[in-house]
């Protein structure tokens, strides 16, 4: 690993128990490390996705698939997804008045339902409350992205009964029968 001033600061932050990804980048600093979401931001996004994709708390493996999706988006999607996800987390926190992932499932569900944050479309005549720009961003971009990320993962294939799917190798003969 290349030793830079920033990596030294991140190392000290980690040693002191801080989330390294929450350490701000200096305005003129070089992009010597990929920008990332903080651990708490990641947890809030997963907690949001958990409401969107199913009917109850996700398993640790399912949560890992979502984390993988979000991290891939932020490292490969340029700044677009980073900004989208931060907007989403910021909106959730403002609506909740606290960290969104700190709420239990039923309170998160109620908050999302009340604020209609689960719909991926916005009707022209629809009023979007106190934070219209953020709500529109979250509904039209973050919601389909998180739903798509989950259902493209092994968790999504498991929903349709497939334990093997494109990208996993297995029994060659399986395709010849009606067994999944």
């Amino acid at each position: 690993m290349r030793l830079t001033r920033r990596s030294l600061i991140l190392g000290v932050a980690a040693a002191l128990g801080f989330d390294p990804s929450a350490v701000p980048r200096s305005p003129g600093g070089r992009a010597d490390a990929a920008p990332a979401l903080s651990r708490s931001q990641l947890e809030d996004l997963v907690a949001f996705a958990e409401i969107l994709v199913g009917d109850g708390p996700l398993s640790p493996a399912e949560r890992d698939y979502l984390v993988e999706h979000i991290e891939r988006r932020t490292t490969q999607g340029g700044g677009y997804y980073l900004e989208l996800y931060r907007t989403s987390v910021g909106l959730l926190e403002r609506l909740a008045g606290t960290r969104f992932s700190g709420l239990d499932f039923s309170r998160r569900l109620a908050l999302i339902t009340h604020n209609r944050l689960s719909s991926s479309t916005v009707r022209p005549e629809e009023t979007l409350g106190r934070f219209p720009r953020e709500v529109r961003e979250v509904r039209t971009r973050a919601v389909p992205d998180l739903i798509g990320g989950y259902y493209a993962s092994p968790a999504g294939w498991a929903v349709v009964g497939y334990s093997a799917f494109p990208g996993t190798c297995g029994d060659l003969a399986r395709y010849t029968s009606s067994e999944r």
Partner: protein, 532 residues
């Protein structure tokens, strides 16, 4: 640097030629503009592929610049792969022989042109190509031309959905048969049996044949073949006798180097072969090397394609394998092709939306979303159609002087149209596919718009007459005595079938011819078979 034979491109044709020549003790250097893709990288490539990325993308992206023109743009993006293995890195693996009639459209139907060789001339080389690549199949196609040897591997069994198609086709008088493929139905030639990974454009196990696995390492192991990667040939130079004396190439640092050889073979695909000839224009060949006919780049062809699909009431279990196992060539052969274009039906094992697409399109969330995905997935069946495209001089590769690649070379420009002949064939194919799907009882039958296979064909057609063709029957350029142009660029017509097995058979044949020139005493040696 010097070689006896310089080969430009390490794809299907180049890789096969390199091995065939190296085994005869001929010193070969292969100049490949892309990198090596190690088999150990494939699992990571699979992860990228399922995320919708192209793991075969060229590191120097500007090498793949191109422009399009004409009423129906033919886009090359994702339709080629640079690197050791070439397009066999990402091909479907479908390994079909052409039918005897495919070589004789002019004689039989009065359209297009005949090839200067027949199916019978090529039959032995087809058998050799099938053995080298490990083609799995069974001779159950009623119209197939005679074979001198059985398929080397047993066929992949029909899928669950093939059974539905079979039952629907029988009363319609449509015969469905196995789709031959260069993919291991059982372990073969040191490569494992297919494990149904479902990502055949990136085969993670090596069960699908690609020449980076089946030919290039074996050629290098002889000690007679050397492959230079990320070495892009910029032009060919002539000596005063009119023979090619050197290939001028450059690595990404743009430093130009020369490879001298006795014989030069262009194996870079139909587009790049034509482009390199045009880039090699000289005082003697102002219109491009080997282009006294004016036909270099002309008669570009592909396979216009559509997919017709419909929804079944019951589940049909798609996405459990990455390739198709059944097809019908009934409409590619059994007809008067003067008026009715040939088309091939491929019965798809994967059709309809995947879980993520259903989920995103549903607009739902929570439990209703989960229920919707569970209920909606797995109901779609589809048929892909490949139509034969007739050669048309208007369809052509030229140079675009306004768009240049990493080395400053003009990019290829593709002018492309699809004529009435092909459109009528697609219309008929759509009707036939619709009848099959209706016979299964599918609803919501729909057709995609026009697309094109990743097959680039024509551009340096073969023929006996130097005035109407670019290469002769041995794939030697009419105008340049030590220059060979191999690959699908030399095809006279496209048929409706994928070209790779014919590329391979012609490469085996060309290797035999080149070896006979360079080593007259050993011309009968080893891998190449005499014509059947």
């Amino acid at each position: 640097m010097e070689a006896e034979v310089a080969i430009v491109g390490a794809g299907a044709a180049g890789g096969i030629l390199a091995l065939a020549l190296a085994r005869r003790g001929i010193r070969v250097v292969v100049l490949e503009s892309g990198p090596r893709h190690d088999l150990a990288q494939r699992p990571e490539y699979v992860r990228r592929y399922v995320r919708g990325e192209n793991p075969w993308a060229t590191p120097l992206a500007s090498l793949d610049r191109y422009t399009v023109g004409g009423p129906v743009p033919y886009h090359l993006g994702g339709k080629r792969a640079r690197g050791v293995g070439g397009s066999t890195l990402h091909w479907e693996g479908y390994a079909l022989r052409l039918h005897a009639n495919d070589f004789r459209l002019k004689s039989l139907y009065g359209i297009a042109d005949d090839w200067p060789i027949s199916y019978q001339d090529l039959e032995g080389y087809y058998a050799e190509a099938e053995r080298m690549l490990g083609v799995a199949g069974v001779a159950d196609e009623p119209w197939a031309a005679p074979r001198s040897a059985a398929f080397p591997l047993p066929p992949f069994p029909f899928s669950y959905s093939d059974g539905l198609f079979t039952r629907a086709c029988q009363p319609l008088g449509i015969a469905l048969h196995h789709l031959p493929q260069a993919r291991n139905s059982v372990a073969y030639a040191g490569r494992p049996q297919c494990r149904a990974c479902g990502t055949c454009q990136v085969c993670p196990t090596g069960a699908k044949a690609s020449v980076d696995l089946t030919h290039v390492p074996q050629a290098e192991a002889t000690g007679n073949a050397q492959v230079l990667t990320e070495a892009t040939v910029l032009r060919l130079e002539l000596d005063r006798s009119g023979r090619v004396s050197a290939a001028v190439y450059a690595r990404p640092d743009k430093l130009q180097q020369r490879l001298n050889a006795r014989v030069f073979v262009l194996a870079g695909g139909a587009v790049e072969n034509a482009r390199l000839l045009l880039l090699s224009a000289s005082r003697e060949f102002p219109g491009g090397l080997a282009n006294r006919s004016g036909l270099v780049g002309k008669f570009f062809m592909s396979h216009p394609s559509i997919e017709v699909s419909g929804r079944a009431r019951e589940k049909v279990y798609p996405y459990r394998i990455g390739f198709s196992t059944a097809m019908s060539r009934q409409f590619a052969i059994e007809r008067d092709r003067a008026t009715r274009g040939a088309f091939l039906l491929e019965f798809l094992n994967s059709a309809g939306p995947t879980p993520d697409r259903i989920a995103v399109a549903s607009g739902q969330w929570g439990e209703p979303l989960r229920t919707r995905v569970r209920e909606e997935f797995g109901h779609w069946l589809g048929i892909r159609v490949y139509a034969e495209q007739l050669p048309d001089r208007v369809n052509a590769i030229s140079l675009n002087l306004n768009v240049r690649d990493h080395f400053g070379s003009p990019a290829p420009h593709i002018h492309y149209i699809v004529g009435k002949y092909e459109r009528r064939a697609l219309d008929e194919a759509k009707e036939v596919a619709g009848k099959i799907l209706a016979a299964i009882g599918l609803t919501d039958v729909r057709s995609t718009g026009l697309s094109f296979a990743a097959h680039q064909i024509g551009t340096h057609r073969m023929g006996a007459d130097p005035g109407t063709s670019v290469v002769d029957v041995d794939l030697k350029a009419h105008d340049v005595p030590n220059l060979y142009l191999v690959g699908s660029g030399c095809f006279v017509t496209a048929s409706a079938s994928p070209p790779t097995l014919t590329i391979a058979a012609l490469a085996v044949r060309a290797a035999q011819h080149i070896a006979a020139r360079l080593r007259p005493a050993s011309s009968g040696e080893s891998t190449a078979h005499p014509a059947g």
